[in-house]
């Protein structure tokens, strides 16, 4: 019995789910109409990742990490993966965002303890990469059923503004602009500035902002914006970036739900793979990925 899918959309999800359900899948016709037929490098490297860890720089580590988050609690031995590559880029959810939104979500499903951690050892921005992330995850025999139906009120907003290989002032400028918008809603805002230097700053310059809103019930809604990679497209002003990010966060808050739109699929997967007890969660409008 082989399930057949066409095209390369949802490539990761298909592979992850096939791994989890021990069912064979066949994916023909990948980019059949494209000039560049077949699998791209990052997909090949994703398949490699499922055996073993070098992330291609075409996509950020977030791309690989998302799949690992889905798999990690179900593997045999506690996972400890050091991923090298691009930590932040504009297409994929960055490592920072996953760290502040996905990890608390996993904790709600009973995957907790010392083991669960995403640690940014080195930052690497888009074109060249050079970042390093350590992801550790314990193994759980079963998931706890969750009742995520009350998002609750937002009590604080936290964030990280980072800058590598640019002036450290950039991060401060981002923070100021973001605060200018968010201060109208809530006073409890703290945005860390994270300026990495030297060996831990990767190979390319860049800056970005990750914001997360925490509610009284422990729901985390996140948003982030990255600077455009060097040599691709127009450069952005840090002020604009900060403002855009704040607006994205507001948008995310507007969409509501107990799980933010990046992690919807993760939450749903955990819910289905849990025990046979009823889990409930309230989601905002589903994102196309889920």
């Amino acid at each position: 019995k082989i399930l057949t899918f066409e095209g390369c959309s949802c490539f990761r999800q298909r592979l992850v789910l096939s791994t989890l359900s021990v069912k064979r899948v066949k994916i023909p016709n990948i980019r059949s109409k494209d000039d560049n037929l077949g699998l791209r490098d990052f997909e090949v490297s994703f398949i490699r990742l499922l055996d073993k860890h070098e992330c291609n720089v075409q996509r950020s580590i977030g791309y690989y990490l998302e799949a690992l988050l889905m798999l990690a609690p179900f593997v045999k031995t506690p996972l400890r993966a050091a991923l090298k590559g691009v930590t932040n880029d504009p297409t994929d959810p960055s490592v920072d965002l996953l760290k502040v939104t996905a990890i608390p979500l996993m904790k709600k499903f009973g995957i907790d303890g010392d083991g669960l951690e995403i640690k940014v050892l080195k930052r690497g921005m888009a074109p060249a990469g050079g970042g390093e992330v350590l992801f550790t995850c314990p193994v759980r025999r079963s998931m706890k059923p969750v009742q995520l139906t009350e998002p609750g009120k937002i009590k604080r907003i936290r964030g990280t503004a980072f800058s590598v290989r640019v002036s450290p002032q950039m991060a401060n400028r981002i923070v100021d602009s973001a605060r200018s918008i968010l201060n109208k809603f809530i006073p409890d805002i703290y945005i860390y500035t994270d300026h990495m230097k030297g060996a831990s700053s990767g190979k390319s310059p860049g800056f970005g902002l990750t914001l997360v809103a925490e509610t009284v019930n422990g729901t985390f809604l996140g948003a982030e914006v990255m600077s455009t990679p060097q040599g691709q497209g127009d450069p952005v002003l840090p002020e604009d970036l900060g403002r855009n990010c704040a607006k994205l966060l507001l948008e995310e808050i507007y969409r509501g739900g107990c799980v933010d739109s990046t992690n919807q699929s993760l939450a749903l997967l955990y819910m289905t793979l849990g025990q046979q007890d009823v889990s409930k969660s309230l989601l905002g409008p589903l994102s196309p990925y889920t």
Binding site: C8, I181, D277, P285
Partner: protein
């Protein structure tokens, strides 16, 4: 003799004695309390070590009582308890079952054959199964038994079977075991009797647990056990509690109590050895069963279920629980294999229990009563009905389609189902139906017509066997149908939706194709439906004819089909519905904004595909009816994602979501729309800090109470006084609840342990599980959660080997064990194994062994090994005598921690103990290295200082066997 009045005792009221007594009386109570004070040395700590020891001991005893709390998953109406009666032959098993049945139901069942289900109490049913003396049945029944009645012939003592069965039980999760001693009347001497009883009891206790219940059935009266003793046994059975076993709570299983062969009789006639389609019936136990899952039937093999449906309970519990005992009507008995069960209706047939005990089978009449059909029935009625029945079971996805429904609009149901199938396929493959456009449809249409023409011709060619009259009558409707075919089109066209049309066509096309294939095959034997293609196509034609009639009547079908396509709020996942509420709720305060938002949301919803259908497959019919009148405009939007999906097939695989409907957050209005999402915003009534504060004041300050009351009075007019009263009442209740919570938190949680907390949590979860689908209709519920335990299900299994039917013996249990997602695969298993200490011989590597693991019994070739100190696995030629060793087998994947037992042969009864080994699955590693010491023989060919180089010949000549 006259009784002498005795002098009563005179209490002293004065004097030293009285004084002493008085003093004692006064101090008496104090003295008890002051024991510690009075004699402190007796209570002082003599030894800290001993103190610690005693403390430890009490704690140990306390914690020993705890079990890991499990979520209570027993359904509201649990399945009957499986009571297995086991024992060596001639020990009185059948007699005991008969007596129990008589005790519970006041009925006599002469022939116990297969499981017998009875209502034993207001809340409990029992399924009694007799286990014959055969290791296969013993293994299968040990896996499903909730309670084992172990019959022991006291005049003989324990027999090997008893111990074998206990060991089997131990491996597969221990069910409750109750011993029953019979043949006690053979003892003439009372002393030997009591001695034997005691001896057997203690032996039984060592085997089961200390204090296990052992019953004595002392003697027979008119060939039955004594009523009082049976009654006592019955009472014990009805109050027994069961602890869930891991394997069983994670796997669904059915103990089949009825079997019907659905295979086409003509196919059997042509090839008696052809594979059979069989439907098995029984109560579902364990956990939820999904439709189309894999099951294992021990002794037969793995099969994927074609269809599961639930039937009305043939042996229901009394509906209203009254205080009195059950009356005779409620004491039901159901044993179809033994030929008891009264009148039973189901999809395939109607069964009437005849007094002779034979089953009588009346085929139901499915066809409408037209002359044509009557004539057909006149010719080959049963076959006809059979065909119709088989068709129903082939196509329907749900059980609800009663024969009447089929009669009314068979096309609709089928249409719907094909729809559903297609729908599901769509959920899996991103883009399947891109290719249908109108031209193709039309060509299909034409093709179909051609096919039908062909069919007609074929029909005429093939219907020689059938009555001439029947053929004549059959011909006209076909023509009529052909005329009507084009008329069907406009009905679809009216809907003005390409998708609709294409689907309709597609389903028809499929049908056509099927028929076409059949025609091409040309061999009537291989046809699914009937001996005669003529008949078959007539059937179809009739169906279609009816369908077209329906279309003429009004576009009922079209409507209902369209309703499938409506992803409306109500149908969408509850989460989304809730979400809708939430957003609406949050935005209500700003009217126009909320309006806009909800509109936008609706648009979103329309654009999103029906989630529930995607996830859970078909949507039950009832819901559609309710949604029938929804606007048609939505259709257009639904089809759009379908088309865009195709484009998206090669889309970027990225979970980052860029919201498209960006609001302008610089505007004050937009900004204020989410203001309430923050702690600084406005809270809901009951959580607002201000109200909370006020409430607290109300609770604790009595003078405030008056004031607030006044305030309220001033606010409300007379008009809504009633409303106000209710409001206040609610508020008061709410207040009470909160107070109680606070009280509980203050006083109960003080000594609450982790265990209690865990227990509470589980309780809550169980409650939640129960509530979630409580008021949902069974039809819908089945799609959400699968068939729940306690339901009486009918499981249809295709392609069973014919021996299953031909050698069917109701005395042997048929168990359908559901398999987990990966348990159908075969791979390498590592297990820890120990030769059973009672088995006389040690086991040899590579000697075939029959394992019972999970639901299965299978033969495999184990490799025994032992782990050395350096972590290497060294192959063993024989198992150690009294030690565990490792074993690797090639076998079905089974979760770690599952126990297994091994026997060397299942046939025949040997004198000694048959269970060769027991153990547990440790790992499912694909790559395991087992090393073996080799002796290589070679010759030195060079000596260099202290080194000798040796030439080794080929492995064959040096004595290495692979």
């Amino acid at each position: 003799m006259e009784k002498k009045e005795q002098k009563r005792h005179q209490h002293k009221h004065s004097g030293p004695k009285a004084q002493k007594k008085n003093r004692k009386k006064e101090q008496g109570t104090e003295q008890v309390q002051d024991e510690r004070k009075r004699n402190p040395r007796a209570f002082s700590v003599q030894s800290a070590v001993r103190m610690a020891k005693t403390f430890h001991r009490t704690q140990d005893i306390k914690t020993k009582k705890h079990h890991i709390p499990l979520v209570d998953r027993t359904p509201l109406e649990p399945p009957p308890v499986v009571v297995v009666v086991i024992g060596p032959p001639k020990v009185g098993k059948s007699t005991l079952i008969r007596c129990l049945i008589k005790n519970y139901t006041r009925q006599k069942l002469s022939d116990i054959c297969g499981p017998v289900t009875i209502v034993s109490g207001k809340k409990r049913r029992l399924t009694l199964i007799e286990c014959n003396n055969d290791i296969n049945s013993m293994i299968d029944l040990a896996k499903v038994a909730d309670l084992v009645l172990m019959l022991i012939d006291a005049s003989f003592g324990f027999e090997m079977e008893t111990f074998e069965f206990l060991n089997i039980c131990q491996v597969h999760g221990f069910p409750r075991v109750m011993g029953v001693l019979t043949h006690l009347d053979t003892f003439k001497n009372n002393k030997t009797l009591s001695k034997t009883k005691k001896r057997l009891k203690h032996r039984f206790w060592t085997e089961v647990y200390q204090g296990a219940k052992l019953f004595y059935l002392s003697g027979m009266v008119y060939g039955e056990y004594q009523t009082q003793e049976v009654k006592n046994l019955g009472r014990f059975i009805s109050v027994m509690k069961f602890r869930p076993l891991v394997w069983r709570t994670s796997h669904p299983y059915v103990v089949a109590d009825r079997m019907e062969d659905l295979t086409d009789p003509e196919a059997i006639r042509l090839n008696p050895k052809c594979d059979r389609t069989v439907s098995l019936y029984g109560y579902l136990r364990g956990t939820f069963l999904k439709n189309k899952c894999q099951v294992h039937i021990p002794g037969v093999g793995d099969f994927s279920v074609a269809d599961v449906s639930f039937l009305p309970d043939p042996c229901p519990l009394p509906e209203v629980i009254k205080k009195r005992a059950l009356n005779v009507k409620e004491r039901l008995l159901y044993a179809p294999l033994a030929g008891v069960g009264g009148l039973v209706y189901d999809k395939d047939a109607v069964y009437i229990d005849m007094p002779s005990g034979h089953k009588c089978l009346f085929q139901e009449e499915v066809r409408p009563t037209t002359e044509l059909v009557q004539s057909l029935i006149g010719t080959q009625a049963t076959l006809d009905a059979k065909m119709a029945a088989s068709k129903v079971s082939l196509f329907t996805g749900t059980a609800a389609l009663t024969p009447e429904e089929v009669k009314q609009n068979p096309m609709e149901s089928r249409e719907w189902d094909e729809n559903a199938q297609r729908e599901r396929r769509r959920a899996v493959f991103a883009d399947e139906d891109e290719k249908d456009d109108d031209e193709e449809e039309e060509s299909d249409e034409e093709e179909e017509e051609e096919e039908e023409d062909e069919e007609d011709e074929d029909e005429e060619g093939l219907t020689k066997k059938v009555d001439e009259k029947a053929v004549e009558t059959a011909a006209p409707p076909v023509k009529k149908q052909k005329i009507e075919e084009p008329m069907e089109m406009p009905a679809f066209a009216d809907s003005d939706d390409e998708l609709e049309k294409s689907e309709g066509e597609e389903s028809e096309e499929e049908e056509g194709d099927e028929e076409n294939e059949e025609m091409e095959e040309g061999e009537p034997a291989k046809r699914r439906s009937g001996p005669d293609s003529g008949l078959c196509s007539e059937e179809d034609d009739e169906d279609e004819e009816e369908d077209s009639d329906m279309d003429e009547d009004g576009d009922g079908i079209v409507k209902s089909k369209m309703s499938f396509k409506h992803p409306e709020e109500e149908k969408i996942d509850t989460e989304d519905a809730e979400m809708a509420y939430e957003t609406a709720g949050a935005l209500r305060w700003k009217e126009d904004l909320a309006q806009k938002a909800s509109e936008a949301y609706l648009r979103h919803q329309l654009a999103a595909p029906n989630l529930r259908k995607l996830v859970y497959g078909t949507v039950a019919e009832e819901e559609e009816d309710s949604n029938d009148e929804e606007e048609l405009g939505g259709l257009f939007k639904v089809s759009r994602p379908e088309r865009s999906k195709k484009v998206r097939a090669d889309a970027m695989d990225c979970s980052r979501f860029h919201p498209d409907s960006s609001h302008d957050w610089d505007q004050e209005e937009v900004r204020s729309s989410i203001r309430d999402c923050f702690v600084t915003g406005k809270w809901e009534e009951d959580k607002d800090a201000a109200t909370l504060l006020k409430e607290n004041d109300e609770l604790y300050g009595d003078f405030e109470d008056l004031e607030t009351g006044e305030v309220h009075k001033a606010k409300t007019g007379n008009k809504d006084k009633h409303y106000h009263v209710i409001f206040q009442k609610n508020k008061r209740l709410e207040k009470k609840r909160r107070l109680k919570e606070r009280f509980d938190a203050q006083y109960d949680d003080g000594d609450a342990t982790y265990f209690d907390d865990l227990k509470d949590e589980m309780q809550k979860q169980a409650e939640l599980n129960r509530q979630e689908f409580e008021d949902v209709d069974d039809e819908v519920r089945v799609q959400y959660e699968g068939f729940r335990p306690g339901m009486y299900v009918r499981v249809e299994i295709p392609a069973l080997p014919c021996e299953f039917v031909t050698n069917f013996d109701p005395h042997y249990p048929i168990v359908l064990g559901g398999l987990g997602p990966s348990e159908g695969n075969v791979g390498y298993l590592q297990m820890r194994l120990k030769k059973h200490r009672w088995h006389s011989r040690i086991l040899k590597t590579r000697d075939p062994l029959i394992l019972s693991l999970g639901w299965r019994r299978f033969q495999t070739i184990p490799l025994y090994y032992i782990e050395d100190h350096n972590g290497r696995h060294r192959l063993l030629k024989y198992t150690p005598e009294h030690m565990h060793c490792g074993a690797t087998i090639w076998g079905p994947i089974t979760p770690q921690g599952t126990g297994f037992l091994a026997v060397q042969t299942v046939g025949g009864i040997k004198a000694n103990f048959r269970i060769a080994a027991t153990g547990v699955v440790l790992d499912l590693d694909k790559s395991v290295t087992i090393v073996k010491k080799l002796k290589l023989i070679g010759y030195p060919y060079k000596i260099f200082k202290n080194t000798c180089f040796i030439q080794v010949g080929s492995p064959a000549e040096s004595g290495v066997s692979p």
